[in-house]
Each structure stands twice: as structure tokens, then as C-alpha cells.
Symmetry: C5
Subunit: 377 residues, 5 copies
């Protein structure tokens, strides 16, 4: 049974996989390309979404060479790459866009710290997608993947580990004519993608708060040993969550202050909004941490309360009966009444036994009154 509870906790959230190892060996050249992700799509899927005010085309392509026509200046192009296992194919894309080797390395090292980096002709953004997969089940699994976004002057390239449909709402919105998304440049698309990811953080926060609330109730009602492990696990998850988003906030705020021409002033206002949402998520995370600390304190206090209760029961029983047993012991002594009138004359008294019982009753009542006064009863 113990094992079970441990298991259910291990599968609780596990944002923090604690995989900080880099598969690249120390001393390897930067840009040594080793894919560190676990989930592998069978094929790398490359989809091109080409759009401007009037047109929107979305089609999968197999050969990077075919990207040429789409990258004509007049239209904006979003190249959505899903799956990171086939480094040769990825290299084709990277070389086509002349991405810096460090960017290449970061895209496939899927334990990157979130960051926003300005290069001379593009902005590189790494974020972490974190969303609860199914909130209705008992154990919550987290969709946890790294998203890399490369924002150029007329294109956006996104790299995802899996083919999860997180960007589908954006694609749907792209299909609608005459929207801001269609009218504005790739910088706005980048904003929309980032915003979409940040919105998912709210769901995760909500899930975490629900877990905290449930644990709270359970700890108040009946603290169990596995609650402690849940609290431990929550602390770990909250730390990992915070670690996954705090650098992004700093990156975004540097992006807002940046004079990069890649991001227009109009879009900067929107970016400021995402930044604010992130700040709110981080604030709320801090509250959740405080609540988890408080939860631990409650757990400990409840343990102490229980101990107190146990001790009180023992003390009441022992304190009442030990004196009574002593009296019974007295009159169980075998002093010989015949050898002396002082030897236990009570034993032959007419009221001896009732008197002894009465004494015991008196002691019991006194004790009970004493405990009532102490509010132990």
C-alpha cells in the first residue's frame, strides 16, 4: 500500500524531471548536434503556412528546397517543424536560413532554459510548453515540451518536439480573413504563439491550485504520511515551474526595451501584455509556494495535535487507574492480622470493603474533575 501512494505521487505532476544532463560530452564543440528529447515522432513534419492580407495557404512540404517560393518578400511565412529526431533534415532547414550553430544546438537540446536572444537578422526564443493533459482523471499528466521560435524579417520558424495540437487555434485564426493576425507581420504571429503558450500556464496554475486545495482539505481532516510526500512533490513542481518561466519574463522585458527593428512598436504593446501575464503567473506561483509551506506547517501541527490527543488518553487512563490499583494492592497484602492489632485491621471492618470502593470512587471523581478543569475531557 505504501508503494501505491508513492507511485500516485510520482505521477502527480513531475514538471521537474531533474534531467539536467546534457548529452553532449564535456569538451565537445558547440553546435555538436545531439538530440536530447525522448519522444520521437516517426517522421519530421514540416508545414508551411503562407499568408498575407488576402491569401492563406497551409500545406505540408517534404523538401526544404521547395520553401523558396513562399519566402518571397510579399507574403509572410510560418514554417512549423514538428519532431526533432532527424538531425539531417533539420540541418537542411537550418542551413537554408543560416541559423547560428548555437541556435541549432539549443533547438534540439530540449532541456534549455527559456531565453530570448537577439541575433543580427533574427530573434531566437526558447519557451517551455506546460499544460495539464487531462484534468478530469486522478493522476494529472503534464504535456511538457520545448518550443523554439525563430523570428526573421518575413518568416517565423517554430520547432516542436511532438505533434501535439497546441498551435491549432492559431492556425484556425490564420484562416480567418481580415484579422490583425493576417494584417500584421511575423512579429505579431510570434506574439500570438507566445501568448498561446502563456495562456496554458494559467491552466497549469489552476490545476496546481486545485491539488493544493484538495491536499489542504485532506490534511485538515486526516493527515497521512503520503501527504508529506505530496507536499514534497508540490514544492519540487512549483520550483520547476518557476524555473521554467522566470527567465522568459526577463527575456521578454529585454525584448520590449530592445531597439530591434524586427518587432514593431505596435506588437511591442502586445508583448508587454504577455509580459504582464507572465508576471501574474509568477506572482501566483509565489502565493502557491507560500501556501505549500503553510500546508507543511499545518501537517506538522496536526501531527503534534494527534500526539497530544494520544498522550491525553494515556494520561487520563493511567492517572485514574494507577492510584486505584495501588489501593487494591494495599488490601491485597498478606500482613497477618493475628500477630498484631495494627496489621491491616481494615480487612475485618464491617464497612471495610465498601469504604475501600468508596475511596476509589472518590479518587476517580476527583481526577475527572481535575481533567475537566484542564479541559482534557
Amino acid at each position: 500500500m505504501k508503494n501505491k501512494s508513492v507511485k500516485s505521487i510520482n505521477s502527480l505532476l513531475n514538471i521537474n524531471k531533474r534531467k539536467v544532463s546534457r548529452k553532449k560530452k564535456p569538451g565537445d564543440a558547440p553546435g555538436t548536434l545531439v538530440h536530447t528529447g525522448e519522444r520521437v515522432l516517426d517522421n519530421i513534419l514540416v508545414t508551411v503556412h503562407d499568408y498575407d492580407d488576402h491569401h492563406f495557404t497551409s500545406l505540408p512540404i517534404k523538401d526544404v528546397g521547395k520553401l523558396g517560393p513562399f519566402l518571397k518578400k510579399e507574403t509572410k511565412t510560418w514554417i512549423q517543424v514538428r519532431g526533432l529526431h532527424d538531425i539531417d533534415k533539420l540541418k537542411n532547414i537550418w542551413n537554408y536560413f543560416n541559423l547560428h550553430p548555437l541556435v541549432q544546438e539549443d533547438i534540439i537540446s530540449t532541456n534549455q532554459r527559456p531565453k530570448v536572444e537577439s541575433y543580427s537578422d533574427f530573434v531566437f526564443i526558447v519557451l517551455r510548453m506546460l499544460s495539464p493533459n487531462s484534468a478530469n482523471e486522478k493522476t494529472v499528466s503534464i504535456n511538457n515540451e520545448q518550443i523554439s521560435i525563430v523570428l526573421g524579417s518575413s518568416y517565423v520558424i517554430t520547432f516542436q518536439e511532438s505533434d501535439s495540437p497546441i498551435f491549432d487555434p492559431i492556425i484556425k485564426r490564420l484562416g480567418v480573413d481580415n484579422t490583425r493576425l493576417r494584417k500584421l507581420g511575423p512579429d505579431y504571429l510570434t506574439y500570438a504563439l507566445t501568448d498561446c503558450i502563456v495562456d496554458h500556464y494559467y491552466s497549469l496554475l489552476y490545476t496546481i491550485d486545485e491539488i493544493i486545495e484538495k491536499t489542504e482539505e485532506a490534511v485538515i481532516a486526516n493527515p497521512q504520511k503520503y501527504h508529506l510526500q505530496q507536499i514534497h512533490s508540490l514544492r519540487s513542481d512549483l520550483m520547476a515551474f518557476r524555473k521554467s518561466i522566470k527567465p522568459l519574463r526577463d527575456g521578454l522585458s529585454s525584448l520590449i526595451r530592445d531597439e530591434s527593428t524586427l518587432i514593431s512598436d505596435e506588437v511591442k504593446i502586445f508583448t508587454r501584455d504577455v509580459h504582464d501575464h507572465l508576471a501574474q503567473v509568477i506572482d501566483t506561483l509565489e502565493n502557491s509556494r507560500e501556501m505549500v509551506y503553510s500546508l507543511y506547517d499545518m501537517y506538522m501541527s496536526n501531527l503534534s495535535n494527534r500526539m497530544n490527543e494520544v498522550m491525553k488518553v494515556l494520561t487520563i487512563i493511567a492517572t485514574i487507574f494507577i492510584p486505584l490499583t495501588f489501593i487494591a494492592g494495599i488490601y491485597g497484602m498478606n500482613f497477618n492480622p493475628e500477630s498484631s492489632p495494627w496489621n491491616m485491621p481494615e480487612l475485618s471492618c464491617y464497612w471495610g470493603y465498601p469504604a475501600a470502593i468508596g475511596l476509589m470512587a472518590a479518587i476517580t471523581i476527583t481526577m475527572i474533575v481535575f481533567f475537566k478543569r484542564k479541559k482534557w475531557l
Copy 2:
């Protein structure tokens, strides 16, 4: 009984509703307008307060088109909007003033982080109204609503969730001739509205301090399990309160440093004052948090003290009576005095029984002296 106490705590303050979810679905366009508030007025009330040095008119309007005459440059206009459920009607107002879609979204997402944002032709302020509704009752309910203020060059628009009369004192002051409020521009009105909200924070602080003080007394006198939940709840409330006002302080200080022409130097001095009040509120909140932590420490120590007391009673009783019972046990043994002169000759001694009782008395007295020395008695 347990349920009761839990209830009374849940209704304690609950600044922290822990509703961080956004109704907008991830991936939705910014400015997707979904009202996230709970309280819904039956009608959206729009009131126009038009004033200058000499005139003051205040009347409800139904049609946004009728705002035109009021917005003539010569007078200052305050459009007070109460109720946020009717997005179509709100849209009329927004479009009339050409508000940015993100501003629109923020106005009706009533779980915004407080903020102060400068746009090209207006300043947008989001604050949280927090005031205790009725301090005389046992359970305190909090009036908790989001206030949005749009400050333009000649107008102020405020958006409230409910029709609570929080701004009535301001309206009353507007009715008085020859005041600073009437003479100065809409920036001063904005200051007055903000100041009014910040003043309410003091009432809340006061209420919280009273609760802490009461809990303190109760914990010192007789710590109960539900106090722990109260402490837990206080920690949560203080965190939520702090989260609701700290970003505002930063926003105000950026407003003071700002070169925006919307706020005159004269009004900036007043804004600095509100900023100082907020800083004081936050300082006091920090003290309250420290006090709540201290409260928890007191609670835990009192538990330990109680345990000590319980253990002392048990130990005193057991330590006195166990040896006595042993002696009684000795003389309750049935060794046959006839088979040997060594077999319990005491039983037939003339002073046997009195000697045994005397021995017991001696032990008792020794023990009591021992406990007195240990200061257990």
C-alpha cells in the same frame, strides 16, 4: 462542530479566491472579449459627470452617441460605467474612445494584475478595490472588485463591476464649487479616484490587524485546531492582498517618473503621495505577515507546552504510585512463612503493616520533594 469552524474560516476574508483561470481559451486572439466577472448588474449603468470651474452636471445616459456634447474641449468629463456583462454596449463606448483591444480585454477580465500602462493618447490603470463590507459582524465579507480607469486628455472613464457606492464621496466633492477637484484637470480626478481606493486598503489593514490580534489572544489563552486553519487562511489572504497592490506601487512610481503630458507636475506631487501611502500599506502588510508567522510559532510552542504539561501529570502520578504499588505487591506475595523463617517474616511483625505504610509515605514525600526541586509542581 469541526465543519462549523472550517466554514467560519472559509468566509473569513478570502481575498485570495484563487481564480487565476482565464476564460479566454489559449490561442484565442488578444482582445477576445469574454467577461470573467461573477456579479452581474441587470443593466449597465453609464453616468456622465461633466464639470469645469463653474458648472457641474451629472446625469445617466443610455446612448453612447449622446456623449458628444460633453466631450467638448472646454469641460472635463467623467464617464462612470458600472457593470461589465453587456459587451456590446461596452464596445460602443470603447470604439467611441478608440481603446486598444488589449485595454478592452483587460477591462472585462476581472482578475487582472493591477497595472499602469501608458498608451499614446491615454493612460490605462487597473486597480483592485478591496474593502471590508461590515466590520461589526463576526464574519467579514470583502468587497473585492476590479476598477479600470482610462485617463484621456479631457476625460476619465471608469469601469466598475458592480454598482457599489465607492466613488460617491468623490461625486459629492465634485458637487462643491471652487475646489481643487473642480479646478484641476482629469488627471487630478484620476488621482482622487485612486486615492479613494488606496484609503480603503487602510480599512482592510485595520480589519486584518484586528483579526490577528484576536487570534493572538485566543492562541495564547487556549490554542485550538481551528486556529491553525485561521493562521493558514491569514497567510493566504495576506499574500493575496500583497499581490493585489504591489504591482500598483510600481506602476505609480513609473507614472511619476513618466514624461507623459497627460499628468501635470502639480498632480504628480499628489500621485507621489498615493505612492507613499501604498508603500506604507505594503510595509504594514509585511509586518502583519511577520506577525502571522510569529503566531504560528506561538501556536506550535503552545502545543509543545501542553504536551509537556500532559506528560508531567502522567509522570508525576506514575512515578509516585508505581513504586508504592510495587511494595504493596511484595507483601501480597504468598510465600509460605511456615516453610522457612526467611519467608516474609515481616508479615507477622507487630509493626509490619504500619512500617509498610510508613515506607510508602516516605517514598511519596521524597518524590514530591524531587518534583518540587524540578519545578514540576
Copy 3:
């Protein structure tokens, strides 16, 4: 007796009166003048100290109009106002010097956060006077009042709540010819007044450290329940003390960096010195807080130590006597030796009783050796 100790603690320091409420109602105009102090002098005392290199005059005045001659440019004037209850009279002074309404409000709201504010033609400083009244008594009362200083180009105005003689040393020094105080301008007088107040903080620090030291000794010797309340109270006082001086440090450092012409470079060096003293006070306060936390830890550990001691006594007694009592119980059984040779033949042995006693002695010795080994004895 419990009440007593609580009382003695409540009267301990109480820097933190926890009166954060503002008497001004929310929504009232800024500068709405409501006096929030408690102590009220029967009369407002206004004293004018007029001085230059060669002259020094000090006389009480009743009519503000008579201030005129003193404010002639050639001499420096210190207007010392004591008592804040008579708003009409204060208004005369304020209007005479044309003080900003917010300054007026701050002067009589005696729970202000310390601050240093630069206005166009004067500098406004709010500080908190905190000094132990009488250190030799058992209960320390704190002289806690708000001091407001207005520094103009040729005058200084100070506002005190009471007529406590805190500035008497300064007045005495003003009476001495040929001192820096007489030669330099009103900025130096302002420095001298501030320095005087900061010097009092050292006395308070000293008093607090003495209380901590005494509590330390008491907690080590014999921890009592009321020590816990003392620790709680100390935490509260230290927080309040810190809150009362930290903003002042920041204010002073902005004053030093300021290009205001009201404060000469020569006096800025002195102001830097006050700033350093404040920094030292705050550093020492931090140490005191750490010590109070440590005190709590010691208290808790001592509680645990006591519990250990109690448990050891119980365990030693119980562990020795329970087996003995069992043996006595064995030979108190009434098995009939006549019905079987196996039924308790020991009872009729020649050495039966001595052997039983010997067995008991052996057990006792074994136990004692065991406890010695465990270092419980």
C-alpha cells in the same frame, strides 16, 4: 498570574501600536485636515528661535502675524511648534508659509511613514521620534511621536505632537556663540535636529538589546510560557522599529544626491554621516531580529529538552518497577500447591522469598547499568 505577565509584556515596548487607520474617510479630499494624534497639549506652543552669528533670541509667540520681523533675510529662524490639536492655529502658520495641502495633511496625520520630500521652495521631512523614557524601571515606556520638519531657504519649522524636551540640547547649543550651528544656515540646523533624533535610536537599540539579553538568560535558565509572548512582542517591536526608520534612510540618501540648493555641500557631508548612523542602526536591528529568531529556536529546543527530561524520569521509574511488580504479582498468585507439585513450589522453598527479593535486586541493578550506559542517569 497569567494576566499579569501578559500585561507586563503588553507594556513592554509597543513601538508597533498597529494604528494604521487614517481618520480621514476614504474619498475625502487630500489635505482634509483631521488630527490623528492622541496626546493633546492644552495649548499649541509656538516658539521662535532667531539667530545669526552674533545674536540669538528665543521667545514664545502667540500671533503668527508677529513672525514677520524674524523672517527678515539676514537672520535664520527656527519656528518650533508643539501640539497639533488646534488646526485653526496651525492653518495660520501653514498659510503664512504657503505649505502644500499634502504637507499640511501629513503634519497632523501622526502615523505617517517617514519621508523626505522636495518641494519647489522647501524640503519636507517626516521622522519618528523613538526613545525609551526610563530605562531603570521594569516596564519600559517609549516616547513615540512624529516630528515634521519644513526646511526653507532662511527658516526651519518643526512640528511636534507633545512638549517633550527632545530638542532642548539643540536650543542650548544655539545659545552658545561662535559655533557651527550659529554660523551655518538652516540646513545645518535641520541636520542637527535629525541627528538628535537618530541619536535617540541608539538608546532604543540599547534598551532592546538589554531586553533580548535578559530574555536570553531567562530562557536558558527556565523557559516560561510568557517568554514566548515576549519573543512575539519583540518580533513585532523590531518590525515596527525597522518600518519607522528604513524609509528615512532612503529619503536621506536621495537628499544627499539631490541638487537642491537648499542644502549646501558642507551640510551634505553631515547628512551623509546621519545616513551612515541610520544604516548602522538598521544593521544592528537586523542582528537583533536574528537574535530574536534564535531566541525562539532556543525556547523551542529547551521545551524539547524538558520533555526529554520528563520522559526519561518516567521511563526510568517505569522500566525499573514494572518488571519488579510483575515478579511480585507472580508470587501473589493463588495456585493451589496442594493440587500439584508444579503449582508454585517456590512459595514453600526455604530460600524462596530471599531468592525473589534477590532477583528483583538483580533486575534493578541491570536496569541502572543499562541507563548509565545510555547516559540517562
Copy 4:
């Protein structure tokens, strides 16, 4: 057995050797050269790696004078010095490159704080190599040595304490034609060396996380006293690790902002990457610390849980048997039934004994039900 566990912990990681003493005596001149390292190579090994786009030579040299030809401007030169005990020989090198006396002192004081210092004609970097030697054994030994790097315009000099092969991968890469390492200048080599060291931090993080995880499991399953020492040791190690890398991050970020011509813009992008990795390592360290704190909390709670369990067993046994023993004691009293009809008539009842046994059974059952209700059984 206790000793053993202590030992196994002492050999746990010991990043923190706590040797902060400087062998230089207080008051000695800066640049007083005292080697503070422990490991001493028998010989100081000096290897020259000379390379440009087309050539790569690597050979040991004995005489510093022979360095001349290699330092010809056209090629880049890496002088790798291993062993720091022979100060005379080191002095030859230092003088050859005209290193500042403080740099000389820092190179051989092997407890330096990591730092990045710009001198007029070179950049001096001190880092700490930290890598687990063998993760498969039970006790992990840490390779802990100080690496100093001097980056000049056309050369790099590295100083290592031992001849550990940490830079072998770099040397191997140098042997490959047409790589970035060969094409770019000595600044890129410096980057490569730094990156190699930072990569090793990941291995250490991984090792630490594994230890934490194992301790976690052990603490949950069966908390032992030596776990406490392990937690203590982990806290110490994490602090020491953090201390060893945090200053480096600050140094690197100042290097990135630096206008030094020694580091080209191209290499600065790479340096930014190392900086980011360091930031990630520090973030993860913070998480690990939080986890170790949480571990301690779990340990303490488990202790309390155990205590609770022990107490419950005691309470159940005592609470059931004490009343039973009392009843047995009652009927062991020797009141004389012949002297009064009230003296224990039960003893001669026909159902006396069965009734007594029944009463005992009833009490037992009641108690068990009581404990079941309390969920103690």
C-alpha cells in the same frame, strides 16, 4: 557502525573543503608566492599547442625560452601548464609574459574565488573544475581543482593543478582541420575551455540530484540518524558548489558587456551561451537546495510520525490492560468476608469469577471499538 556511516558521508562529496585559510601570512606583500595546493605533480609539465587554419603542432617543452618561435604573430598558441609546485619554473613563464604579480599570486593560491579580470593586455580568468570522478562507485570523489586562464592577443595560457585529462577533448578537436576552433582566435579557444568546464558542472548536478533522490527514498522508507548527517552534508556541498560558480557568472556577464578588443563579437555570442548555461546550473542548484530543505522537513515529520506510532502502541496496550489489572487487583484484596456481609460477597458468588472475566472482556471490547473509531488501529 556509527563511525562508518559518518565516514561514508564525509567522503560523500566534500566540495566544501572549508579551507579558506591563505598560506600567505597577513601583511605579506601581494604577489608573495606561496603555493597553497595539495596535489603536487612530480614535474611541472608545459605543453605548447601551436595552431592556425592549416597547421597544428603539439609538443612538450622544458625551457620557456623555446616559446619564442611559437609566439610569432601568425599562429595562435596555447601554453598548457600542469602542476603548480615549482614556483621558479612558473616564474620563468610569468615573467616571459609579464603577468601582474596579483595574477601570479592568484594562479598558485588554489582557493581563489572564480573571477574574470581585465588587464591592459590580457584577460585573466579563474575557474573551479568540479566533476564527479566515478559515479558508479558508492562513494563519489570529486575532481576539484582550480584552473587559471590567461588570454592574450595571440596566445592562451592555462594553469592546472594536476595532470587530469580534462582538456583532452579540446586538444583532440584542435587536431581536426577546418573547424571553427582552428579558424577563430585564442578568444574562441578560451571559450571552448570554459565551456568544457561548465559542461562538467552538469555531471556534478546530475550526481547531486541522484544522491538527493536516493536519500529521499531512504528517508521515506526508513529514516535513520545518518540521513540527517547526509542532509547536513548536502546543504554544505550545495552552498560550496554555488559559491564556486556564482561569481563566474557575474564575471562572464561583465566580459560580454566589456569593450575589450581581446574578445571578438563573434565569440561574445558563444560566451553568452556559456553564461546562460551557468545561469541554468545555478537555477537548478537553487531547486536542489529547496529539495534538500524539503528533505529535512520530511525527515523531521517522519520522526514525529514514528513517535506517534510508538505512543499509540503504548497507549493502546496501557489503556486496555490498566483497567483490567485494576479489576484483578480488586478481587485480590483480602477483606474478610466473615466479618461483614458487605466484605466482598462477590468472591463467594456462584458466577463471581466468570462475571469478573466477562467484565474484563467487555472493557477490552469497548476499548478496541474506541481505538477503531479514533483510527488508531
Copy 5:
């Protein structure tokens, strides 16, 4: 015995004397000269060390007037003043060099916060000398005195409280020809003096770490009540140590950034080195604090462990013997077998007594097995 341990702790380090009182009364003029030190030399010793590249003279002087010849521009002069009790004599020196009254006050107020202050024609440095006097004895006494350094364009004046030989190594080095110390200006001498003091901090750190390590071992082996006081004392000492050096680091870093012409660029490099050493000392202090916190945690856990052990012994003994005693009690009852065949027929059974003993043995074995399973034995 308790007193003893307390004593040995009070004499432990006591960096924190907690004497923050200023002897100057509040309101006294700045520069009111009151010596606040305790140790008083019988005479104030003034020694002049005059040196340049070629000459070095060191001689005591009695009359300040005789300083004139030494202060000729061509040579550098170090005036070493030891003893601060004779204010008249000090005043002679101060006036001779025209020191600011605040500097004068700071020199003799020997509880100054360390600081570095730039005046127009000199730099004023206050530091705290902290070094363990004798590490080999049991109780460590700390040499704790304030050092003030005045650095002018061609002279250095140092003020020490006692005649402790801390600067003797510097004087010795001054005697050596052709050193940097002799060649460079008084700024380098100031660096050398500062460096000498900072070097002593390392010794203190080392001493503290040794105390922590010893306490650690003692707490692990056998936690005693006085360890708690040691931990308390260590916390206090570490706080005081930190307070004594942290402001110095900030002062030095402002000195490095300063454009003061008094310190040459060459010496600034050396100052940067001292700054780094201070940073390392502070880092290590932080580690030590963490270790002391951890120590407290270990102490508390060990207390809990002990309690657990005590409780286990009690529980084992009680749980085994209470049932046995009960059985013995049963067969000690006096039910009359003659009045009923149900009344204790066991007593007359042939195997009655052996069966009872057997039952007891069975219970004992069961219990032991139970405890083995629980791992309590």
C-alpha cells in the same frame, strides 16, 4: 556545572559585543569628542615612518610640531598613532592635518560602521581589525579594534586603539629596499594596510569553521543543552562579523569606481584584489551561517531522535510486562473455589501454574517478534 558551560560560551568569540550606544548624548554637536573605547594605553604612541625609494626612517615623536620636516613633498610619510584616550594630543594631530570634525568624531567612536569616505583632500577609511588571538587554547579571545586610516596626497595617518603589533609586518617590509611598497605612493601603503587587515579575516573564518566543525561532531555524538547556546552564540558572532565587513566591501567598490586622484590606477588594481578577498570572506560567511542553521536543525532532530529512543524503551518494557502483570493479577484474585465450580478452577489444576507461566512466555515472545518487525529492537 551549568554556569561553567555558559561561561565558556560567553567567552567563545563575542565579536558582537552589542555595544551600539554612543557616548555622545543625543543633541550634542557633531564632532563632540568622547572617546568610546575601553582599552586605554597609558600613553599615546605616535611613530613616524618616513620613506621613499632610497630612504626609510622610523622614529617615535612626542611633539606634533616636529612632523613638519617629514611632510616635505619629496618623501612619503606614515604617521602611526596608537591609543585614543588623550583627546588633547589627538586634537593636535587632527588640527595639524585639518581633519573634518566628523572624521575626528569617527576616529574615537570605536563602534563605527566600516566606511570609506572621500573628502576633498583626503580619503578616510574606517575598518575593524578582527583576529583570533590564540587558536591553540580552549577559549578563543578576539582581538577586536577599530582602525582608522587617513590617506592624503603624500601621507597616511593610522589610528589604532591599542599597541597590538598588527602592522609590524608592514613596517618590516618598509625596511626592505627596492620594493613596490617603497616605490609607490601612500595609496599603495593604504592598500597594504587594508590587505593586512583583510588577511586576518581569513584566520578568523578559519577559527569559526573549526568551532563549527567541532560543534558539529559534538552534536552528532551527544547533543547537550550548552550546544544550543553555542549555536546561538555562533549565530550572533557570524551576524556581527558580517556587519563588520559588509559595508567595507561596498566602500571599497565605490573607491575603485571613484575618480579620486588620490588613488592611482595601478593601486586600484590592487584595491580590486582586496575587494575580491572581502567578497570571498563574505561568501564563506554565508556558507558558515547556513551551516550553523543546519547545525540547529541537526540538534533539534537529535533531540527528537533521543525522545524516540526513550519512548521506545518505555513502550517495549511497558507493553511486554503490563499484560503479564495482568495475568498474574488474575490468578491473585481470591474468588472462592468452594462456592462454585466456576470460580477459578485453574488454581487447582495440575498444570495450572506451568500453563500460566507458559502463557506469559508466549506473550513475551509474541511481543518481541512484534517489536523486531517494527524494527524497534
